[in-house]
Subunit: 574 residues, 2 copies
């Protein structure tokens, strides 16, 4: 633990000295000074308390490096959808605040240990701007591939990723001695190409399980005793962390939140994650690995993600590269009916463990009741009472009886306030998996972006059987984008595709997605498959420029350019 | 997950039908019936909700077996001192209730998975009686010793303890397949003698670390690849669980709570743990392994434990046997000063991780300020403000300046409301470690008990450097007990001893314990050392009957019968 800044002479005294209404608070008044290496967490905490008290407009940071340690940080048990729950330490708890800005002044915020940078909770009119986020010890680890055989892989692991081989097991940690040591567990490997700065051609995830058998070869070289790996010497094996515990900026039950001119070099979860919020703006945000370090990967999950968000959601002029999952996904949540207690009472369950605790059903809300395998809606019941049993189960009482067909296994999701989504001027490249997942029923505009993604650049997904993510666009324009040789990885059949979890037998009757217009795009493609859709009402592909390239080897040369099964209103004229 | 009882037709309907004031609620009215194998958790939850609503006096169970599963149980993040924190599922949340009794009617309550039986929180006038508690799958595991060499030990593990050897590692689990499997991690071994029903002679704990190297020999036989073990074929190696996550009965911030005629066959933590509570009565409670199963151990930690409790604490006519730690310990908590911010403001830290979250300091409270190595009090500062920073740290502001000598490393504890402790008519035998730890400053009476303990039967402890447990008796009588061949294990130098953490250089000046009177006891002893004390003011040992036995081999034949260093007012006349 680093010593607290000596200037911090008790919060009470500080609060008294800082008492004036509105205005800007300078963090140095609370004992945080740039570049002194001291823990600035308590100073920020005191500053936020004071800002809330006096209704300050802004907290400003003189430019420099600030350090944040978890020891004395704010603490809260958090359920953040699509990430892992837990009792978190949070450096910037923006909690219950209104019309307030954090201006980093171009500073670098360096975090140490399991400390979440920002939480915006039950707030409105919040702006976070002008700073970078990085970690002393990343949550993932990396190793340069020296050799790969059928039986093992030899790696050289940079000093940035302390490790030990103990009891024949590889364990990543923070380099501290003895009991002070904190583990950084990992559970999967993915190969990256450090020259092209992207996932290696057709690289796939290798699960490692809980026990990573290994031998220490000395000089930071390790032999991974894991057969059937593929990897090219000189490339990087990235070890993905076992959990998504430390999001960058988590926005919960808030509205009108802007994140701009922020660079997220790293965090141990999603970069910007919004849930049950509305009017969220992400502008000129960069997700990219830090320069000058042995790091090919930026952050360890999706760059951004939005769950049950309404109003407007906008991503503008952003760079999302080399993160360990998609650039964004905007969707709702389905719960599963696990017991029908009467015609008006059911017990429902959040199915995916990373959705546990995601309470989104309120009295008075109109839900949609769907059959999971078909994703067809059978009723729109209105909730009279929602009683949370625990983080998994809720008991719902409806105003009117459910239809007789309502049964265990059916799913329920919220209706009504779907986000109007804009993704404009962004560059998405080199990351694991897909580009963007378009699953909002609000007007969706994707324009002037550049995609160079390993899997599908754009995916329409959603299901009520596996991930329980509500989707189904109703009005979606994809225009004036550049698609630059996507599909060099394994995560997709085509450049733009549908992956909704509708059982094949039900696809002919389903029109889960509607009104998708793809126009005016420039497509440079080595992979033949451009579109692969099913169950769409209204799909046009017009005025796009297609250039065939030889940027990568063909991995499925016979894939058809267009697949549009069980679709109506299809117009395809390149 | 077991199906919910079909009788449970929605809580709302039940609540309406059960609405009358006071009286006894029968759990069967809420859908819980004995011996049907169904999950009774939700029925009990509904019954408790209704009991609270109508101010019922009692919840009664028709005699039989009831099953409880964690799936739909009440959930709360709990910090329970000397156990492990976590988001717990709780079968009987007695929360904010008053003058209420749970009468099990002689029933057996069988718990499944990580489900805590009882929590009494912010309640008064609570009685829990007439039931047994056991688990389908214990939190510890056991194996019969087949052979022990310098390099390994071979064990036969009963079917009650499902396990796998995977990647060369022994893993205990619940026997469920695939992803449904829940692990039951362990981290230490202790040898028990199944004939004598106690820890084996001079057996000690062996740490295992996180990785238990092993080979599966087939037929439920396992070779533990752990050298330097000692063990006798036919004896039992007990694998202690890695955590104390599932206490039996946890009593927090409550008063006037009685637990009587209850048998705790098992739980994954302490049996009855009281914290920040007063007037607690434990009568005719048995802690013992269940009959007819392959289990030598009862529960996995202390049978009972009381932290910062006041008023009266009484243990009467109880049996505490074969649990994995002491029978009881009644103490306070010290926090450590980690930063002195001004003459009136300090940051303090709860040091032991199992004390995290134990908030016990309130505005207006008089604390004692002690020097850790000496356990001497330098001041009694009164708290003006206590501001919790997180589960580890609190910022304290005092009404008056602290003495100049107050420094980082000093410790603070509450003063004033020390429990008057009675331990009467209890039998304590066969368990790991000691009998009872007497660390309350209230009048303490220990009479008519029978001890057959592996370590010291009675220990006076406390320190402000290692465990941070406040102690120091002021008035303690130990009379008319039978001490039956204690000290056959490694946990103690003498039958009754002091282990307070006072650095030897400070012992001459310290009188941390006062007024200990040991009289009228019958002592059957093979071990020569009866008393080993230091830093006591007033110690008498009179009218005790001492019989020398040869019940066990001598392990320290030259130990002096009495050690009373740095004590005043000592009277020793057997």
């Amino acid at each position: 633990m680093k010593p607290t800044a000596p200037h911090l002479l008790g919060m009470a005294a500080l609060l008294a000295s800082a008492a004036f209404a509105g205005g800007t608070l300078d963090v140095s008044r609370f004992g945080a000074f740039p570049d002194d290496g001291k823990d600035d967490t308590l100073a920020v905490r005191a500053a936020l308390t004071q800002a809330k008290k006096q209704g300050a407009d802004k907290l400003a940071f003189p430019k420099g490096r600030y350090d944040f340690y978890p020891d004395k940080a704010f603490e809260r048990y958090q359920f953040i959808s699509n990430n892992d729950e837990g009792l978190k330490r949070i450096a910037f708890p923006i909690d219950g605040m209104k019309d307030f800005e954090v201006d980093g002044g171009g500073s670098d915020f360096l975090f140490h240990g399991y400390l979440s940078p920002f939480t915006v909770d039950n707030a409105r009119g919040i702006v976070l701007r002008n700073f970078t986020v990085d970690y002393e010890r990343p949550f993932h680890s990396e190793g340069k591939i020296l050799a790969v055989t059928d039986a093992y892989a030899d790696l050289e692991i940079p000093a940035e990723y302390p490790f030990a081989v103990e009891n024949g097991l590889l364990k990543f940690h923070d380099g501290k001695p003895g009991k002070a040591r904190t583990l950084y567990p990992v559970r999967a490997i993915l190969e990256f190409d450090p020259v092209k700065r992207e996932t290696a051609f057709q690289a796939r995830d290798y699960g490692l399980g809980d026990d990573i058998l290994a031998q220490d070869l000395g000089n930071r070289r390790v032999r991974l005793l894991r057969g059937k790996l593929k990897g090219t010497p000189g490339n990087i094996f990235v070890f993905g962390p076992s959990h998504r515990l430390v999001c960058g900026i988590a926005i919960t039950d808030s509205r009108d939140v802007t994140v701009e001119d922020v660079t997220l070099y790293h965090c141990g979860g999603m970069g910007v994650i919004g849930q049950r919020s509305r009017d969220l703006f992400v502008r000129r945000v960069k997700v990219t690995p830090p320069p000058g370090k042995n790091r090919i990967v930026s952050l360890t999950a999706d760059a951004t993600h939005f769950v049950n968000c309404g109003g407007q959601v906008a991503l503008e002029d952003c760079l999302f590269e080399l993160q360990k999952d998609d650039a964004t996904n905007v969707h709702g949540i389905y719960v599963r009916i696990v017991e029908r207690l009467s015609s008006t009472v059911v017990d429902v369950k959040l199915v995916h463990p990373q959705q546990y605790g995601f309470d989104f059903i309120r009295a008075g809300q109109k839900l949609e009741l769907v059959k999971g395998p078909a994703l067809t809606t059978t009723a729109y019941p209105v909730v009279r009472r929602a009683e949370r049993l625990n983080k998994e189960y809720t008991r719902l009482t409806f105003k009117e009886p459910l239809p007789d067909s309502a049964a265990v296994g059916d799913a329920l999701a919220a209706t009504g306030d779907y986000a109007a989504l804009t993704i404009r001027g962004c560059t998405i490249r080199g990351n694991r998996a897909r580009g963007i997942l378009l699953n909002s029923r609000g007007p969706t505009v994707v324009e002037k972006n550049t995609f160079h993604t390993a899997g599908a650049a754009i995916l329409f997904e959603g299901d009520a059987r596996f991930w329980y993510e509500q989707a189904g666009v109703s009005d979606c324009v994809i225009r004036d984008n550049v698609f630059d040789n996507c599909n060099y990885g394994v995560w997709g059949r085509a450049l733009i595709e549908c992956g909704a979890g509708i059982e094949p037998a039900f696809r002919a009757a389903s029109r889960y997605n509607k009104n998708i217009r793809i126009t005016g795009n420039t497509i440079r493609a080595f992979h033949p498959a451009l579109l692969d859709f099913y169950s769409v009402q209204g799909l046009t592909f017009t005025n796009n420029v297609i250039e065939k390239t030889a940027a990568y080897p063909q991995w499925k040369a016979d894939a058809p350019r267009y697949v549009t099964a069980d679709c109506d209103g299809v117009e395809l004229q390149p």
